[in-house]
Symmetry: C2
């Protein structure tokens, strides 16, 4: 194999690389290049347009924070919408909760097929759950036509370039707010606070302009560039920092104490979730 | 410049690299190879035996957690000992507190000289403070002969190979405990929980066998491999998780809320600080 190491393009002179056992599969959809890699540290990985999306070994770090924090902050989430998340890991974690219905809208059928074949443990049968529905289509269009309210909307998207660019627009957050019930919660993955500070600042500011309550929380996802990762919540009424029920059994990352702690941002990153974020504070990491 | 990127050797198929503007200086002491690099993302960096120790841009992430957490958990730290920390950043942060005396014991005079010349903002005059004393010598020997008790001992060492190997031995922790006052606190940097799990497990288990209270806490240091970083405290009486005074003004990482939150470990890393840590849980990251 010519290229034994995988890494996203360096950002501001910072690069993270992962050793490969092999490149298992690649394809091109109308939206993006889809690859399945076999990595030494993390097992199999899904890569879209050269950016790592999830891996077998550390998907729990990402999915448990993206899913369980808003799900457990909500007093009673019955109807849940997942936008993106074609690997099925997000849906699987949603279905660990006592929901009535979980709808997933993924734009790229090739991602769904590649993950079904190469990363079956990520969904682990979630798409076959009687409570789950899969829509292959555009999440923005789906939201525009949605006529029943959701309690929680999760955006498990690629970084906001290419097919996902619209998913951090103010128009999208307004559609999401309109599709949420009176105490509804939106949660998005909002990228690396160190390496994608501009995108995070934009997303947090826009969520803060649409929702009465907005907050960014942090965790780590070892396979993602810079390891430290952010999630941002928009909430209509509910304080997202407080879990209201015990977690589903068997969590490997999430704990109730960690839920609260994840919102305690370091001083230099505190303005991120408030719309007052000054990108100059992370300028050293942005070259 | 032949090699435009710096990285520590890959661990378990994981590698982090930093772009260089230049290599400013290098020397060899009796203990280690000492280098000063000029990096694109972090400004100047101190590198010992190929391992990055601190940088101008992110030293505050490391020093504020290593220093302020034990200093603010202690009810009244008057006498403080720093072992290692030749760049002076640790001492500088100690002197932000109302201490009577801060003694630093650094084994390698070449590190002191290199940092004085190339990284003067790290110490920022701390060595000239009337409360500070610098001893060039072996921290273990110093502790063995110490006859006045310390309230806080901070170990700001290289990873526990080479000159620092003895600094995670049970014998060392026993010496430290003997040199601490009745409510004294020891804090060490205990490496990457993802990439150096064996060393962390050893250090945490040994501290737990010597001190009545032991706890590991986490933060991020962007220039360090894997970004996520651990610190471990041994305490004779005091709960290290609770700050007892306001922080010195001007902190950029530390907040009182973050102090408490840093001890909330993800479930899969929880056994780290308790001596019950099973390295198998992070096996995917260890190749």
């Amino acid at each position: 194999m010519a290229d034994r190491w995988f890494g996203e393009p360096a950002r501001g002179g910072f690069e993270q690389r992962i050793e490969l056992r092999g490149r298992l599969w690649a394809g091109q959809s109308a939206y993006q290049r889809v690859e399945i890699l076999d990595t030494v540290p993390f097992g199999r990985a899904l890569v879209l347009d050269g950016a790592i999306q999830t891996t077998e070994a550390d998907e729990f770090c990402y999915h448990e924070l993206l899913v369980h924090v808003p799900m457990l902050a909500h007093p009673r989430p019955r109807r849940v919408l997942v936008i993106g998340g074609g690997d099925g890991g997000c849906l699987r974690h949603v279905l660990l909760h006592d929901v009535e219905r979980a709808i997933q809208v993924e734009i790229d059928e090739l991602v769904l097929r590649a993950c079904r074949e190469w990363l079956p443990t990520l969904a682990d049968g979630a798409f076959a759950d009687v409570r789950a529905s899969l829509v292959v289509g555009d999440g923005v269009a789906f939201l525009r036509d949605a006529d029943e309210p959701f309690d929680v909307i999760l955006v498990d998207s690629t970084d906001p370039v290419g097919p996902a660019a619209e998913l951090i627009s103010e128009a999208f957050f307004q559609l999401a707010a309109a599709a949420l019930s009176a105490n509804g919660i939106l949660a998005i993955q909002s990228g690396s606070p160190l390496l994608m500070a501009d995108e995070l600042r934009l997303a947090a500011a826009r969520i803060g302009s649409v929702f009465p309550i907005a907050a960014t929380y942090l965790g780590h996802v070892p396979a993602y560039p810079g390891v430290l990762w952010s999630y941002t919540i928009g909430s209509k009424q509910v304080d997202p920092r407080e879990p209201r029920r015990p977690a589903p059994p068997g969590t490997r990352y999430y704990t109730a104490e960690l839920h609260r702690a994840a919102f305690a941002l370091p001083a230099y990153l505190q303005a991120l979730g408030s719309g007052r974020f000054d990108p100059a504070v992370v300028a050293p990491l942005r070259g």
